[in-house]
Amino acid sequence: MTDSIFHPLHKEKTMQERSKLLWIIGLFAGAYFIPWDHEIMRRSGLEAFLMLQDYAREHVLTCLIPAFFIAGAIAVFVSQASVLKYFGAQAKKVLAYSVASVSGAILAVCSCTVLPLFAGIYMRGAGIGPATAFLYSGPAINVLAIVLTARVLGWQMGLARAIGAVSFALVIGLLMAFIFKKEDAARTAGQFYLPDEENPGRSLWQDAGFMLVMVLILVFAAFARPGEGDATIWQFLFGIKWYVTILLLGVLGLMLKAWFVQEERKAWVASTWDFMKQIAPLLAAGVLVAGFLLGRPGHPALIPESWIAGLVGGNSFFANFFASLAGALMYFATLTEIPILEGLVGAGMGQGPALALLLAGPALSLPNMIVISGVIGIKKTAVFSLLVIVMSTAAGMFYGSFFV
């Protein structure tokens, strides 16, 4: 260790120290120069925390936490191998595509699992079509994203997002396979290994029932107060929602006791905790940023509402295209697209462009494109991105013509 200065590890360390220094200088400059005393800055700072409080009060207990438990249960109890076997090179094409377009709900909550799987399906498995279908649907239709979208942005948007994501995944996968037919035929398929399976000692309907009870708990706990003019059935359901929720919790407890062994229950809680640790801090940061820049609906913050209305207001081609393009390039950490969109819609973004951003956003980002192009090459990545942007724009315009 005589020449430790030239040691690669040492070099890496210097880089780290340097970037720390840059961060500190940046923060200091921000603290020093930004006119925090200005009325707009005060208002924006306050909006950030008011929006965070809004999420804490409205969405965390009744929506996010049950959703985390569901995501945890899916990760632990649903057999990945049973889904992944449809991505093999010998799998039937129809099955490969249909499974790929919905499997995001089961397989993907973090991009950490999406990208290696994508590369695996492309290189060793069913090929470019199912691989891109999976890549697209993965981050867009996971339980957490759909549930929170429906809760915060309205059920129409949640439903449109789910339907859009699944059908886009199918169409984009098929188009990619069609465009790159020749190259795909030349690809050699090799041996591949599925995740190990353990015999759970439960039947499929027991697993399905367990999931169903949890979804019902989520639905009832998050049941919104119906309007004055709504049908009496909704008023009635709202009136009894807490009794139903408690009853369902009891049923869930009995199922856990009867059908699961101690180790499985522990694994479930551990994986739920993992999701929470991973996602909650990012989401909180995303809410603060969205609140600071855009404010709660009806409350202006840093970015003037006229800018937003001018760029992505209404339902013009430009508004939809701009929203798609911005969504495709921008990186959204899991779920943060939702508070940002809430802020944007509150500040005058149209419903059509909002859906366009939701469809183009989480599946693509600049850093993501770079990783993908490392696997499938620049040309295929460009075609994939273009397809996503064009289709999101079209879907946004279509949706925006119905919902204003």
Partner: protein
């Protein structure tokens, strides 16, 4: 003995690597433990799920964090 732990860097993958290193240390045998984070390389092994553990070219486990006893078993 050549051990590879495949995983792009999620919590489970780091945990898998830790378990493997502990097992190797405990077994007291000569073994190189390598963490493979490159997505292309991971896909090249044909594993559909991470973390995965490969010992002397054999895929031993996919998609799970192994228990230390399991790893000890493979090392023998």
């Amino acid at each position: 003995m050549e051990i590879k732990v495949l995983g792009p860097g999620c919590a489970k993958c780091t945990q898998a690597e830790k378990v493997v290193r502990e097992a190797v240390a405990e077994a007291g045998i000569e073994a190189s433990v390598e963490k493979v984070s490159d997505i292309l390389k991971i896909a090249g092994y044909g594993v559909f799920g991470t973390p995965a553990i490969i010992i002397n070219g054999d895929v031993k486990m996919v998609g799970k964090v192994p228990k230390k006893e399991e790893v000890m078993g493979w090392l023998r």
